[in-house]
Protein backbone atom coordinates (compact mmCIF):
# COMPACT_ATOMS: atom_id res chain seq x y z
CA UNK A 1 0.00 0.00 0.00
CA UNK A 2 1.41 3.38 -0.93
CA UNK A 3 1.81 6.08 1.67
CA UNK A 4 -0.98 8.15 0.09
CA UNK A 5 -3.36 5.22 0.22
CA UNK A 6 -2.46 4.60 3.84
CA UNK A 7 -3.22 8.25 4.51
CA UNK A 8 -6.71 7.83 3.10
CA UNK A 9 -7.22 4.73 5.24
CA UNK A 10 -6.17 6.72 8.30
CA UNK A 11 -8.64 9.44 7.36
CA UNK A 12 -11.49 6.95 7.00
CA UNK A 13 -10.60 5.21 10.24
CA UNK A 14 -10.44 8.41 12.28
CA UNK A 15 -13.64 9.75 10.74
CA UNK A 16 -15.57 6.65 11.67
CA UNK A 17 -13.83 6.32 15.03
CA UNK A 18 -15.21 9.73 15.96
CA UNK A 19 -18.73 8.67 15.05
CA UNK A 20 -18.58 5.54 17.18
CA UNK A 21 -18.80 8.05 20.03
CA UNK A 22 -22.46 8.48 19.08
CA UNK A 23 -23.01 4.87 20.03
CA UNK A 24 -21.07 5.07 23.27
CA UNK A 25 -17.64 5.93 24.60
CA UNK A 26 -15.39 3.11 23.41
CA UNK A 27 -11.76 2.23 22.65
CA UNK A 28 -12.00 3.56 19.08
CA UNK A 29 -13.36 6.91 20.13
CA UNK A 30 -10.74 6.98 22.86
CA UNK A 31 -7.97 6.39 20.32
CA UNK A 32 -9.41 9.21 18.23
CA UNK A 33 -9.57 11.47 21.27
CA UNK A 34 -6.04 10.89 22.55
CA UNK A 35 -4.44 10.95 19.11
CA UNK A 36 -6.26 14.17 18.35
CA UNK A 37 -5.25 15.85 21.59
CA UNK A 38 -1.63 14.74 21.23
CA UNK A 39 -1.32 15.66 17.58
CA UNK A 40 -3.14 18.95 18.02
CA UNK A 41 -0.88 19.95 20.90
CA UNK A 42 2.17 19.03 18.84
CA UNK A 43 0.74 21.05 15.99
CA UNK A 44 0.27 24.01 18.33
CA UNK A 45 3.86 23.84 19.55
CA UNK A 46 5.24 23.52 16.03
CA UNK A 47 3.05 26.35 14.90
CA UNK A 48 4.16 28.67 17.71
CA UNK A 49 7.82 27.85 17.22
CA UNK A 50 7.46 28.61 13.53
CA UNK A 51 5.76 31.87 14.41
CA UNK A 52 8.51 32.80 16.88
CA UNK A 53 11.18 32.07 14.29
CA UNK A 54 9.41 34.20 11.70
CA UNK A 55 9.03 37.01 14.19
CA UNK A 56 12.74 36.91 14.92
CA UNK A 57 13.85 36.65 11.30
CA UNK A 58 11.23 38.98 9.90
CA UNK A 59 11.08 41.75 12.47
CA UNK A 60 13.02 41.66 15.68
CA UNK A 61 16.51 40.77 14.50
CA UNK A 62 16.77 43.90 12.36
CA UNK A 63 18.06 46.33 15.00
CA UNK A 64 20.00 45.95 18.21
CA UNK A 65 17.24 47.55 20.24
CA UNK A 66 14.62 45.19 18.89
CA UNK A 67 16.84 42.18 19.48
CA UNK A 68 17.15 43.13 23.12
CA UNK A 69 13.39 43.56 23.40
CA UNK A 70 12.88 40.15 21.82
CA UNK A 71 15.22 38.48 24.27
CA UNK A 72 13.54 40.32 27.14
CA UNK A 73 10.16 39.03 25.96
CA UNK A 74 11.53 35.50 25.87
CA UNK A 75 12.88 35.89 29.40
CA UNK A 76 9.49 37.11 30.58
CA UNK A 77 7.88 34.23 28.72
CA UNK A 78 9.95 31.79 30.74
CA UNK A 79 8.45 33.24 33.92
CA UNK A 80 5.20 31.43 33.10
CA UNK A 81 7.04 28.29 34.04
CA UNK A 82 7.34 29.42 37.64
CA UNK A 83 3.72 28.41 38.02
CA UNK A 84 5.16 25.03 38.92
CA UNK A 85 7.49 26.40 41.58
CA UNK A 86 6.21 26.35 45.14
CA UNK A 87 8.41 29.26 46.23
CA UNK A 88 8.48 31.58 43.28
CA UNK A 89 5.09 30.81 41.75
CA UNK A 90 4.06 34.49 41.98
CA UNK A 91 6.57 35.36 39.25
CA UNK A 92 4.24 33.91 36.64
CA UNK A 93 1.87 36.78 37.35
CA UNK A 94 4.17 39.23 35.61
CA UNK A 95 3.78 37.81 32.09
CA UNK A 96 0.13 37.22 32.94
CA UNK A 97 -0.39 40.84 33.93
CA UNK A 98 1.30 42.05 30.73
CA UNK A 99 -0.91 39.81 28.63
CA UNK A 100 -4.14 40.63 30.43
CA UNK A 101 -3.36 44.35 30.52
CA UNK A 102 -2.67 44.64 26.82
CA UNK A 103 -5.75 42.70 25.84
CA UNK A 104 -8.08 44.39 28.30
CA UNK A 105 -6.89 47.65 26.79
CA UNK A 106 -7.54 46.37 23.27
CA UNK A 107 -10.93 45.05 24.35
CA UNK A 108 -11.99 48.32 25.96
CA UNK A 109 -11.25 50.32 22.86
CA UNK A 110 -12.73 47.89 20.34
CA UNK A 111 -15.84 46.78 22.24
CA UNK A 112 -17.11 50.29 22.78
CA UNK A 113 -17.28 50.87 19.03
CA UNK A 114 -18.09 47.48 17.58
CA UNK A 115 -20.64 46.37 20.14
CA UNK A 116 -22.07 49.57 21.51
CA UNK A 117 -21.69 52.75 19.45
CA UNK A 118 -22.18 51.11 16.06
CA UNK A 119 -25.18 49.10 17.20
CA UNK A 120 -26.81 52.08 18.89
CA UNK A 121 -26.18 54.25 15.87
CA UNK A 122 -27.58 51.82 13.34
CA UNK A 123 -30.70 51.39 15.51
CA UNK A 124 -31.17 55.14 15.95
CA UNK A 125 -30.73 55.61 12.21
CA UNK A 126 -33.70 53.40 11.33
CA UNK A 127 -36.13 55.48 9.31
CA UNK A 128 -39.90 55.28 9.52
CA UNK A 129 -40.83 58.22 7.29
CA UNK A 130 -40.07 58.82 3.65
CA UNK A 131 -39.69 55.15 2.82
CA UNK A 132 -42.01 52.35 1.82
CA UNK A 133 -44.45 51.30 4.56
CA UNK A 134 -43.17 47.73 4.81
CA UNK A 135 -39.59 48.80 5.52
CA UNK A 136 -40.90 51.46 7.89
CA UNK A 137 -42.83 48.80 9.77
CA UNK A 138 -39.78 46.52 9.94
CA UNK A 139 -37.62 49.36 11.20
CA UNK A 140 -40.14 50.22 13.88
CA UNK A 141 -40.34 46.59 14.99
CA UNK A 142 -36.55 46.35 15.09
CA UNK A 143 -36.24 49.47 17.19
CA UNK A 144 -38.90 48.36 19.66
CA UNK A 145 -37.35 44.92 20.06
CA UNK A 146 -33.90 46.39 20.66
CA UNK A 147 -35.17 48.82 23.30
CA UNK A 148 -37.41 46.30 25.10
CA UNK A 149 -34.72 43.62 25.15
CA UNK A 150 -32.20 46.09 26.53
CA UNK A 151 -34.67 47.16 29.19
CA UNK A 152 -35.49 43.55 30.04
CA UNK A 153 -31.92 42.93 31.15
CA UNK A 154 -31.65 45.79 33.64
CA UNK A 155 -30.34 44.49 36.92
CA UNK A 156 -30.82 47.21 39.47
CA UNK A 157 -34.35 48.50 38.93
CA UNK A 158 -37.33 47.13 40.82
CA UNK A 159 -39.53 46.29 37.87
CA UNK A 160 -42.79 47.08 39.62
CA UNK A 161 -44.39 49.74 37.45
CA UNK A 162 -47.23 48.50 35.25
CA UNK A 163 -45.41 49.01 31.97
CA UNK A 164 -42.66 46.53 32.85
CA UNK A 165 -44.84 43.47 32.51
CA UNK A 166 -45.73 43.89 28.83
CA UNK A 167 -42.21 45.09 28.02
CA UNK A 168 -40.62 42.04 29.59
CA UNK A 169 -43.12 39.68 28.01
CA UNK A 170 -42.57 41.20 24.61
CA UNK A 171 -38.79 41.00 25.03
CA UNK A 172 -38.96 37.35 26.05
CA UNK A 173 -41.20 36.44 23.12
CA UNK A 174 -38.95 38.28 20.69
CA UNK A 175 -35.93 36.49 22.11
CA UNK A 176 -37.55 33.09 21.77
CA UNK A 177 -38.48 33.78 18.15
CA UNK A 178 -34.97 35.03 17.47
CA UNK A 179 -33.28 32.08 19.19
CA UNK A 180 -35.55 29.61 17.42
CA UNK A 181 -34.73 31.02 14.02
CA UNK A 182 -31.01 31.08 14.72
CA UNK A 183 -31.22 27.47 15.86
CA UNK A 184 -33.18 26.49 12.78
CA UNK A 185 -30.77 28.28 10.51
CA UNK A 186 -27.80 26.53 12.01
CA UNK A 187 -29.30 23.15 11.18
CA UNK A 188 -28.27 23.93 7.61
CA UNK A 189 -24.60 24.34 8.49
CA UNK A 190 -24.47 21.31 10.71
CA UNK A 191 -26.12 19.07 8.16
CA UNK A 192 -23.86 20.46 5.46
CA UNK A 193 -20.75 19.68 7.46
CA UNK A 194 -21.86 16.15 7.99
CA UNK A 195 -22.75 15.87 4.32
CA UNK A 196 -19.15 16.94 3.67
CA UNK A 197 -17.90 14.02 5.75
CA UNK A 198 -20.22 11.61 3.97
CA UNK A 199 -18.86 12.85 0.67
CA UNK A 200 -15.38 12.11 1.96
CA UNK A 201 -16.37 8.60 2.99
CA UNK A 202 -17.99 7.99 -0.38
CA UNK A 203 -14.92 9.30 -2.20
CA UNK A 204 -16.77 12.02 -4.09
CA UNK A 205 -14.28 14.51 -5.60
CA UNK A 206 -12.39 16.57 -4.45
CA UNK A 207 -11.98 13.85 -1.84
CA UNK A 208 -9.71 10.94 -2.72
CA UNK A 209 -11.85 8.32 -4.50
CA UNK A 210 -10.06 5.50 -2.67
CA UNK A 211 -11.99 6.34 0.49
CA UNK A 212 -15.03 4.61 -0.98
CA UNK A 213 -13.04 1.38 -0.99
CA UNK A 214 -12.15 1.55 2.68
CA UNK A 215 -15.41 2.93 4.04
CA UNK A 216 -17.57 -0.23 4.15
CA UNK A 217 -14.79 -2.40 5.54
CA UNK A 218 -13.68 -0.05 8.25
CA UNK A 219 -17.31 0.61 9.19
CA UNK A 220 -17.97 -3.12 9.34
CA UNK A 221 -14.98 -3.78 11.56
CA UNK A 222 -15.70 -0.93 13.97
CA UNK A 223 -19.42 -1.54 14.25
CA UNK A 224 -19.04 -5.31 14.25
CA UNK A 225 -16.55 -5.35 17.09
CA UNK A 226 -18.51 -2.85 19.17
CA UNK A 227 -21.91 -4.46 18.71
CA UNK A 228 -20.42 -7.92 18.96
CA UNK A 229 -18.71 -7.11 22.22
CA UNK A 230 -21.86 -5.59 23.70
CA UNK A 231 -23.94 -8.57 22.58
CA UNK A 232 -21.40 -10.97 24.05
CA UNK A 233 -21.46 -9.14 27.36
CA UNK A 234 -25.24 -9.12 27.40
CA UNK A 235 -25.57 -12.85 26.76
CA UNK A 236 -22.91 -13.67 29.33
CA UNK A 237 -24.98 -11.90 31.93
Amino acid sequence: MSVELFGVLLGVFFTLAVYTFLYRENPYSRIAEYVFIGAATGYGIAYDLDWLKNQWVGTWSKTMEDSILFVLALLLAVLWYFRFSKRYFFLYRIPLAITVGTYIGLALRSVVFAQVIEQVRSTAALKVVGIDPWTAFNNLVTMIIVVCTLAYFTFTVRQEAAFWKPVNKFARYAMMIGFGSAYGYTVLTRMSLFIGRVQFLLGIPPNPPEAKMFFPWVALVLLGTLLGYDYYKKTKK
Binding site: G7, V8, A39, T41, Y43, V100, T102, I177, A182, V187
Partner: protein
Protein backbone atom coordinates in the same frame (compact mmCIF):
# COMPACT_ATOMS: atom_id res chain seq x y z
CA UNK B 1 11.35 39.22 46.45
CA UNK B 2 8.82 40.04 49.11
CA UNK B 3 7.86 43.16 47.17
CA UNK B 4 7.27 41.10 44.05
CA UNK B 5 4.97 38.82 46.00
CA UNK B 6 2.48 41.59 46.48
CA UNK B 7 -0.54 41.44 44.26
CA UNK B 8 -0.34 45.19 43.63
CA UNK B 9 2.63 44.71 41.30
CA UNK B 10 0.78 42.66 38.68
CA UNK B 11 -2.24 44.95 39.01
CA UNK B 12 -0.04 47.97 38.33
CA UNK B 13 1.48 46.22 35.32
CA UNK B 14 -1.98 45.37 34.06
CA UNK B 15 -3.10 48.97 34.31
CA UNK B 16 -0.02 50.37 32.59
CA UNK B 17 -0.26 47.97 29.66
CA UNK B 18 -3.99 48.56 29.31
CA UNK B 19 -3.60 52.33 29.26
CA UNK B 20 -0.88 52.07 26.61
CA UNK B 21 -3.54 50.60 24.35
CA UNK B 22 -6.41 52.87 25.36
CA UNK B 23 -5.19 56.45 25.72
CA UNK B 24 -3.30 56.96 22.44
CA UNK B 25 -6.24 55.36 20.67
CA UNK B 26 -8.42 58.31 21.57
CA UNK B 27 -5.96 61.13 22.16
CA UNK B 28 -3.61 62.07 19.39
CA UNK B 29 -0.03 61.62 20.53
CA UNK B 30 1.64 61.32 17.19
CA UNK B 31 2.63 58.42 14.94
CA UNK B 32 5.60 57.45 17.08
CA UNK B 33 3.35 56.59 20.01
CA UNK B 34 1.01 54.64 17.76
CA UNK B 35 3.89 52.65 16.35
CA UNK B 36 4.94 51.82 19.90
CA UNK B 37 1.39 50.74 20.66
CA UNK B 38 1.42 48.21 17.84
CA UNK B 39 4.83 47.06 18.83
CA UNK B 40 3.71 46.42 22.40
CA UNK B 41 0.92 44.18 21.10
CA UNK B 42 3.35 42.12 19.05
CA UNK B 43 5.79 42.02 21.92
CA UNK B 44 3.02 40.82 24.26
CA UNK B 45 2.31 37.98 21.85
CA UNK B 46 5.88 36.79 22.26
CA UNK B 47 5.56 36.96 26.03
CA UNK B 48 2.36 34.94 25.94
CA UNK B 49 3.92 32.12 23.89
CA UNK B 50 5.66 31.17 27.12
CA UNK B 51 2.37 29.70 28.28
CA UNK B 52 3.20 26.85 25.89
CA UNK B 53 5.69 25.64 28.46
CA UNK B 54 2.97 25.50 31.06
CA UNK B 55 0.55 23.62 28.87
CA UNK B 56 3.16 21.17 27.72
CA UNK B 57 4.36 20.54 31.24
CA UNK B 58 0.88 20.12 32.62
CA UNK B 59 -0.05 17.63 29.90
CA UNK B 60 3.09 15.66 30.63
CA UNK B 61 2.46 15.86 34.38
CA UNK B 62 -0.88 14.17 33.83
CA UNK B 63 0.04 11.58 31.23
CA UNK B 64 3.60 10.53 32.07
CA UNK B 65 2.68 9.24 35.55
CA UNK B 66 -0.28 7.39 34.01
CA UNK B 67 2.09 5.55 31.74
CA UNK B 68 4.81 4.86 34.28
CA UNK B 69 2.34 3.71 36.93
CA UNK B 70 0.25 1.76 34.44
CA UNK B 71 -2.98 3.45 35.52
CA UNK B 72 -6.22 2.80 33.64
CA UNK B 73 -6.05 3.90 30.03
CA UNK B 74 -2.27 4.33 30.21
CA UNK B 75 -1.97 2.98 26.67
CA UNK B 76 -3.96 5.90 25.40
CA UNK B 77 -1.81 8.33 27.32
CA UNK B 78 1.23 6.83 25.64
CA UNK B 79 -0.45 7.36 22.28
CA UNK B 80 -1.09 10.97 23.19
CA UNK B 81 2.52 11.62 24.20
CA UNK B 82 3.81 9.85 21.09
CA UNK B 83 1.68 11.91 18.74
CA UNK B 84 2.52 15.10 20.56
CA UNK B 85 6.25 14.58 20.15
CA UNK B 86 5.83 13.31 16.63
CA UNK B 87 4.00 16.43 15.49
CA UNK B 88 6.38 18.72 17.37
CA UNK B 89 9.47 17.16 15.86
CA UNK B 90 8.26 16.95 12.26
CA UNK B 91 6.97 20.48 12.63
CA UNK B 92 10.20 22.09 13.90
CA UNK B 93 10.86 25.18 11.80
CA UNK B 94 13.77 23.82 9.74
CA UNK B 95 12.57 23.63 6.14
CA UNK B 96 16.15 22.72 5.10
CA UNK B 97 15.60 19.34 6.74
CA UNK B 98 12.14 18.96 5.15
CA UNK B 99 10.63 19.64 8.55
CA UNK B 100 8.20 22.41 9.45
CA UNK B 101 4.66 23.35 8.62
CA UNK B 102 5.15 22.90 4.89
CA UNK B 103 7.20 19.70 5.14
CA UNK B 104 5.94 16.44 3.64
CA UNK B 105 5.29 14.54 6.86
CA UNK B 106 3.75 17.43 8.66
CA UNK B 107 1.29 17.88 5.80
CA UNK B 108 0.67 14.13 5.76
CA UNK B 109 -0.40 14.03 9.39
CA UNK B 110 -2.21 17.31 9.11
CA UNK B 111 -4.28 16.13 6.15
CA UNK B 112 -4.87 12.55 7.17
CA UNK B 113 -5.11 12.70 10.94
CA UNK B 114 -5.87 16.18 12.23
CA UNK B 115 -8.22 17.24 9.47
CA UNK B 116 -10.51 14.19 9.42
CA UNK B 117 -10.67 14.21 13.22
CA UNK B 118 -11.44 17.90 13.44
CA UNK B 119 -13.95 17.96 10.60
CA UNK B 120 -15.74 14.82 11.79
CA UNK B 121 -16.03 16.16 15.29
CA UNK B 122 -17.38 19.44 14.04
CA UNK B 123 -19.89 17.55 11.93
CA UNK B 124 -21.08 15.47 14.88
CA UNK B 125 -23.21 18.53 15.60
CA UNK B 126 -25.64 17.41 12.91
CA UNK B 127 -26.67 14.65 15.28
CA UNK B 128 -26.76 16.70 18.44
CA UNK B 129 -28.72 19.51 16.84
CA UNK B 130 -31.39 17.00 15.86
CA UNK B 131 -31.58 15.17 19.17
CA UNK B 132 -31.62 18.42 21.15
CA UNK B 133 -34.47 19.73 19.01
CA UNK B 134 -36.37 16.48 19.37
CA UNK B 135 -36.37 16.68 23.13
CA UNK B 136 -36.53 20.46 23.65
CA UNK B 137 -38.61 21.79 20.75
CA UNK B 138 -41.86 21.06 22.56
CA UNK B 139 -44.78 23.43 22.94
CA UNK B 140 -44.79 23.36 26.74
CA UNK B 141 -45.62 27.06 26.99
CA UNK B 142 -46.20 29.98 24.69
CA UNK B 143 -42.52 30.87 24.81
CA UNK B 144 -41.43 27.35 24.00
CA UNK B 145 -43.99 27.24 21.21
CA UNK B 146 -42.57 30.41 19.65
CA UNK B 147 -39.10 28.91 19.73
CA UNK B 148 -40.39 25.72 18.15
CA UNK B 149 -42.35 27.45 15.43
CA UNK B 150 -39.67 29.88 14.34
CA UNK B 151 -37.07 27.10 14.41
CA UNK B 152 -39.19 24.84 12.24
CA UNK B 153 -39.97 27.62 9.77
CA UNK B 154 -36.28 28.29 9.30
CA UNK B 155 -35.51 24.61 8.81
CA UNK B 156 -38.18 24.38 6.15
CA UNK B 157 -36.90 27.60 4.60
CA UNK B 158 -33.43 26.15 4.17
CA UNK B 159 -34.46 22.78 2.82
CA UNK B 160 -34.55 22.94 -0.97
CA UNK B 161 -37.70 20.82 -0.79
CA UNK B 162 -39.28 23.09 1.81
CA UNK B 163 -39.20 26.20 -0.37
CA UNK B 164 -40.38 24.16 -3.32
CA UNK B 165 -43.46 22.94 -1.47
CA UNK B 166 -44.24 26.25 0.28
CA UNK B 167 -42.56 29.09 -1.66
CA UNK B 168 -43.82 31.76 0.78
CA UNK B 169 -41.82 30.19 3.57
CA UNK B 170 -38.64 31.71 2.14
CA UNK B 171 -39.90 35.25 2.71
CA UNK B 172 -41.36 34.45 6.10
CA UNK B 173 -38.20 32.69 7.21
CA UNK B 174 -36.02 35.54 6.01
CA UNK B 175 -38.22 38.06 7.79
CA UNK B 176 -38.02 36.24 11.12
CA UNK B 177 -34.34 35.88 10.67
CA UNK B 178 -33.60 39.43 9.57
CA UNK B 179 -35.95 41.36 11.83
CA UNK B 180 -36.66 39.78 15.24
CA UNK B 181 -33.50 37.67 15.29
CA UNK B 182 -31.27 40.52 14.20
CA UNK B 183 -32.87 42.96 16.65
CA UNK B 184 -32.51 40.56 19.56
CA UNK B 185 -28.89 39.91 18.66
CA UNK B 186 -28.23 43.61 18.48
CA UNK B 187 -29.68 44.24 21.93
CA UNK B 188 -27.73 41.35 23.43
CA UNK B 189 -24.61 42.64 21.73
CA UNK B 190 -25.04 46.12 23.20
CA UNK B 191 -25.65 44.68 26.66
CA UNK B 192 -22.69 42.36 26.27
CA UNK B 193 -20.47 45.19 25.18
CA UNK B 194 -21.47 47.23 28.22
CA UNK B 195 -20.85 44.27 30.50
CA UNK B 196 -17.42 43.71 29.00
CA UNK B 197 -16.57 47.37 29.45
CA UNK B 198 -17.59 47.43 33.10
CA UNK B 199 -15.62 44.25 33.66
CA UNK B 200 -12.60 45.82 31.99
CA UNK B 201 -12.87 48.90 34.18
CA UNK B 202 -13.17 46.70 37.27
CA UNK B 203 -9.94 44.99 36.25
CA UNK B 204 -8.24 48.36 35.85
CA UNK B 205 -9.50 49.49 39.22
CA UNK B 206 -8.06 46.34 40.74
CA UNK B 207 -11.40 44.90 41.84
CA UNK B 208 -11.84 42.07 39.39
CA UNK B 209 -9.10 39.82 40.67
CA UNK B 210 -10.59 36.60 39.41
CA UNK B 211 -7.57 36.13 37.21
CA UNK B 212 -5.13 37.03 39.96
CA UNK B 213 -7.06 35.48 42.79
CA UNK B 214 -5.02 34.56 45.73
CA UNK B 215 -2.21 36.87 46.52
CA UNK B 216 -0.91 36.88 50.00
Amino acid sequence: MSLLRRVEIPIAITIIFALIQVIPYFVNMGPAVEATQDKVVRWTLIVSTGALLVGLTSLLLIHVPRVTRRRTHWEYSLLLIAFMFLMTIIGLPFPELNLGLTGYWFSFFYNNVLTPLSASLYAILAFYITSAAYRAFKARSLEAALLLISGTILVLRNAPLGTFLIPQIADLGDWIFNIPNMAVNRAIMIGGGLGAMVLGIRVLLGYERGYLRGGE
